[in-house]
């Protein structure tokens, strides 16, 4: 009984914990959308948005991507993609039909630059 409980705890922990994450960042843009927060992450000062969902194949495919409607600037500054053991397990068990999506992203800062006419 004890062994089973221990196994279950380990499995739950594994499923909850992240396997790895990758952060991708644009180098030649205007920078990330700013935010005044008290976070102590490396992204402090940037407005972090999160997409945490399960994509079902047939709904989210290459032709029908998951839409991100909330970037006022229309551009992305940085994306962090995270995988979890649980997500991989779900993918395997459902034969790829359900895919856990955990993405943090920072929109580009909305620029307000241009030309003026003084005449």
């Amino acid at each position: 009984m004890k062994t089973k409980s221990l196994f279950a705890i380990v499995m739950v922990l594994l499923m909850l914990s992240s396997c790895y994450s990758v952060r991708v960042k644009v180098t030649n843009g205007p920078g990330g959308e700013p935010a005044e927060t008290e976070t102590e992450e490396v992204t402090a000062g940037e407005l972090i948005r999160t997409l945490d969902t399960v994509a079902k194949v047939g709904i989210a495919t290459k032709e029908n991507p998951i839409n991100l409607p909330d970037c006022e600037s229309g551009g992305l500054h940085a994306v962090e993609y995270r995988t979890t053991f649980g997500g991989i397990l779900k993918y395997l068990i459902t034969f790829g039909r359900k895919r856990t999506v955990k993405v943090k992203y920072v929109c580009n800062k909305k620029t307000n630059t241009g030309v003026i006419d003084l005449d």
């Binding site: 976070t39 307000n112 003084l118």
Partner: protein
């Protein structure tokens, strides 16, 4: 219309967690959407109206008001316990058309650009580069807002350029709640704009050198800085070398600003007669706990722009990410990654650590070439940090470094390392870069608990630093945005002498007593800079 959200808060902190500080309200202003108000100038004026409303609201409640940018300052200069206002979304920017330039201007219209307060250095560079232009200088990184930079005197190591405020040539301030409280300041001896743009932004023009120079490094207390006019220049490249050289040689260069000793170290930067080129930027990294015979120096040279520079030299940004001699706290964090986090053990480990040579993935010294925005690139949050930074005449740099590092070892040891940068003199009245060439001696490090770690407190350390500089007759200034014993008696007068009274007289003349109080804060009170002069001399703010 521009909209402001007001959030009740209990506390606020700086990016590097140097607080916490009490706070009643935190305000965030966003511009009207471009689709609803296409004209940049209409949106700018709309934001000005909103700012006047916010100032009136604070005044009606008998509360103070202080705008902030990216909150990179580690001192409490950005803090006000009543109302703090986030400006980073106020980021209009445009070039000045030829018909907007003053007839007597020495500036080319193609180099004049106007930026609203919340524009960050990174996005300004992004915009300027799209026009084939560049900022003249920046700090070691790029996340500060332009208004935050000039209010606190942000500097890099521009030997012949100066700090960020030194290429600002016009200021649009909002000094009260009324329409006539929108003013545009510039120097009367160096006018930049004719009346066209000030009229369009409904600003009174005041051309007055002394007023402009006082407001330029205004410590956030000369009214709300709504916009700044800067002089940019044609884009250029920077070639960066990092070398280990003998300590004596590094200090000799620092004391004399004679770069000939570098001729043997950086042989690529020597002319046909064997004379060493003068760098754009010179920086010395110092681990005061190490007995290494060498210091690491970073020497950067200005080069003409070549559109093929990435093909020739490679993309500089991966190198800047990879290489460790960037800003000082980044270097320290990189060094500390392999040590235990306990402060005494960390310091013990520092004493056995020599600053490494900077090498690329192949183990070779790599000289990096890139634009200003690429060499002084992003620096993310590195953890709870402190930084103390003193300005001294470069001729005293060796002596000042000696006494400050000795103090740091004897009275500490303090968990940080030193660097020296060198900056051209500023015209701003309270610029800490006040010497002909100012050496900024800085120590950056990780915060400690003086009781648990058995080390003197940061405040006590800051006080002792001032005491040893005074005891050794070394005139000094302190970076407004860094940690210090700001309550040291007579500190402002010690640093700036008669310029303190001049600055306060001009501020008293420009602002009404209510507005002077509204735009003050406890930091100014501590330094005695919020006092009002009496009688006020209106002649100080006339347009000349």
């Amino acid at each position: 219309m521009a909209t402001t959200t007001t959030e009740p808060r209990v506390w606020w902190d700086t990016l590097h967690k140097n607080g916490r500080f009490d706070l009643k309200f935190f305000l965030r202003t966003k511009l009207e959407k471009e689709s609803n108000m296409p004209s940049l100038l209409d949106r700018y004026n709309d934001a000005a109206d909103e700012m006047r409303r916010l100032i009136k609201e604070a005044d009606d409640n008998d509360e103070g008001f202080r705008s902030i940018g990216s909150k990179w300052s580690m001192s409490s200069i950005a803090h006000h316990p009543d109302r703090m206002h986030f400006t980073s979304n106020m980021n209009i920017g445009f070039g000045i058309p030829g018909n907007g330039v003053h007839a007597n201007s020495t500036y080319k219209s193609e180099n004049l650009f106007f930026f609203q307060c919340g524009n960050e250095i990174k996005e300004i560079s992004h915009f300027l580069e799209s026009k084939g232009k560049s900022l003249k200088a920046s700090g070691a990184s790029n996340g500060q807002t332009i208004a935050g930079c000039i209010s606190t005197g942000v500097h890099g190591s521009g030997l012949d350029i100066g700090s960020v405020q030194d290429y600002v040539v016009g200021l649009n301030l909002i000094i009260g709640p009324n329409p006539e409280d929108v003013v545009y300041l510039e120097r009367h001896t160096k006018p930049a704009l004719n009346e066209k743009l000030p009229q369009r932004i409904k600003a009174r023009i005041i051309r007055n050198d002394d007023l402009f120079n006082a407001a330029l490094v205004g410590l956030g207390s000369f009214g709300f800085i709504h916009g700044v006019l800067i002089e940019a220049e044609d884009r250029f490249l920077l070639k960066r070398y990092v070398r280990k050289i003998k300590k004596q040689k590094a200090i000799q260069i620092s004391n004399t600003m004679d770069f000939q000793p570098l001729a043997n170290e950086i042989t690529e930067e020597v002319d046909a007669q064997g004379n060493a080129n003068r760098p754009y930027h010179y920086k010395v990294f110092i681990n005061q706990y190490s007995n290494d015979d060498d210091y690491v120096i970073e020497s950067i040279y200005k080069k003409p722009f070549d559109p093929n520079y990435k093909q020739i030299h490679g993309d500089p940004i991966p190198f800047m990410k990879q290489f460790i001699y960037r800003d000082l706290i980044y270097l320290l964090i990189k060094i500390s990654e392999k040590f235990q986090k306990a402060i005494p053990l960390f310091i013990q480990a520092l004493s056995g650590t020599i600053l490494p040579k900077e090498k690329d993935e192949n183990g070779q010294e790599k000289n990096i070439v890139g634009q200003l925005s690429e060499i002084f690139w992003d620096a993310g949050y590195q953890g709870k940090a402190f930084a103390c930074s003193f300005g001294v005449d470069h001729k005293n740099s060796g002596k000042a470094l000696e006494v400050l590092t000795k103090l740091t070892k004897d009275d500490g040891p303090i968990p940080g390392i030193f660097a020296m940068r060198f900056v051209k003199q500023s015209d701003a009245t309270l610029a800490f870069t006040k010497f002909p060439v100012t050496c900024m001696i800085e120590i950056d490090g990780i915060q400690w608990n003086h009781k648990e770690d058995g080390i003197i407190s940061l405040h006590e350390y800051g006080k002792r630093m001032i005491e040893v500089l005074k005891a050794n007759n070394l005139p000094f200034t302190i970076h407004w945005g860094k940690n210090a014993a700001w309550d040291f008696p007579g500190l402002a007068q010690d640093m700036f002498g008669g310029d303190v009274q001049k600055w306060m007289d001009i501020r008293s003349a420009l602002l009404s007593p209510r507005m002077a109080k509204l735009f003050s804060n406890p930091f100014l009170d501590t330094l005695g800079l919020s006092q009002l002069s009496s009688p006020v001399d209106p002649g100080l703010i006339v347009s000349l």
